[in-house]
Amino acid sequence: MMTELPPRRRALRWTLAIGAAVMAGWAISGTGVGPASLLAGREGAADIISGLFPPDLDGDLLSRVAVAALETVQISVAAMVLSMAIGLPLALLIAANVEAPRWISGVARGTATLLRSVHELLWALLFVAAVGLGPAAGVYAIGLHSAGVVAKLCSEQLEAVDRAPVETMKLTGGSRLTCALLGILPQARANIASQLLYQWECAIRSSIVIGFVGAGGIGQALAIALRLFRYQELATLIAAVAILVVCVDRMSKSLRGRLGATTRWMAPVRPSYERSTP
């Protein structure tokens, strides 16, 4: 950032910066994004938004949404179990500081990339053919995709740990396994936990796409509401998803605090200690 760089690297940096700027310009002008069109279209958007209000709060619907939300949680939890079972071992193999043999980590990296570059929707197609319509297909689809993402994100968290403690273990004879389990994992666990909770959030949201396979849950209800243009119902469902996401986000925040990922910050400016004048 603020280094006096040798001229060669400096030139490279400028080239990259200019390249990025040009690319952004090309993308923005090419897609016709701009405030003008947004302004012009605000009525259309306002129409849709006003269509969402008031959300449908009919008792019958609410109880169905509650059931659907439970189903969504069920699907997403099962998907997470699958994605952790596959993704976490891959993450360990991929992380550079775990030093798995190069070809194994290459294979693991390839697998993870494959898993996550195939969209949930396409996985869903495959599993519908295998296990039929229903939640199981959704679980496999979300789980596999998410395994790829878990592998990537968690391996990066593993790589981000302080290397001194791990190096010491290694230099005094620690094997790769013990270094990974006792040196790297304990440092990364809080961040890994929060990445996993984020993935759970994603799995909840993905279940919308998975309405495709009739997997049930809010996803299906949303897909149907969308298909049938029931905007007020849609609003209720969006709110339900948002509530689930907020819950997971809260859990994530408190867990991070507990595991010490967030800096337990400095003293409050005004502590509540008794002040006695001397």
């Binding site: 950032m1 603020m2 280094t3 006096e4 760089l5 400095m266 003293a267 409050p268 400016v269 005004r270 502590p271 200690y273 008794e274 002040r275 006695s276 004048t277 001397p278």
Partner: protein, 247 residues
Amino acid sequence: MRIELADVTVRFGDQTVLEDIHLTVAAGERVALLGPSGAGKTTLLRVIVGAVPPVTGWIRVDGLDPFGSRSEVTALRRSIGCVRQRDDLVPGMTARTNILAAAAYQWRLIDWLTVLRGAVPRRYVRRLTELARRHEIEQLLPASVERLSGGQRQRVALVRALLTEPLLLLADEATSGLDPVRAAEVIEHLLQTEATVVATTHDLAVASCFERVVALRHGRVVFDGAVPEADDLSRIYGRALVAERVT
């Protein structure tokens, strides 16, 4: 800056780390803080700077409460320089930026731009050059701090603390990791400044350069006065052995 602590007690959980500390340091006084490991030296410095709230007590630094209103705290902290026991340079930045960052609250826009370009803002050129020369880190300024050796990092941290010409200097084992020559130079420099200095140390040779020594043990002040004698030392460290070892 005058430091006044009265009746300060600090607890972590159910462990009492500082108990009933009464301490006054006059403006411009230089105090060495001695004591065995775990005595509470670092904690005491952190209380003074407002980083660890005591459970009871009354603290004033230059009449300001380090746990007071935000403006009070800010004003106070801007006249403080810290060398901390734990290595606390920002990784991924050069030594130069690390040092300059200590003064970042005074930066104007032009300074930000200068630093972004990897150069030294004009208003800091003289002082930085002088300090860097004095502590022989000129060569190291453009290097990323990860590349430095332990003693080199220590000197960078020291120069950083001195850059803003603080009125109160809190130095937590500022000479650990430095060879005897450098250590002497650093102490000499600290004592030359106009600042009030509170410095912890384990090096009795270093302590003996200070006009006043305060010693902690188990969170209590067990000695306060001029350089301690051998029997004071065994009171501080709890063993006669000390007297033997320190020739």
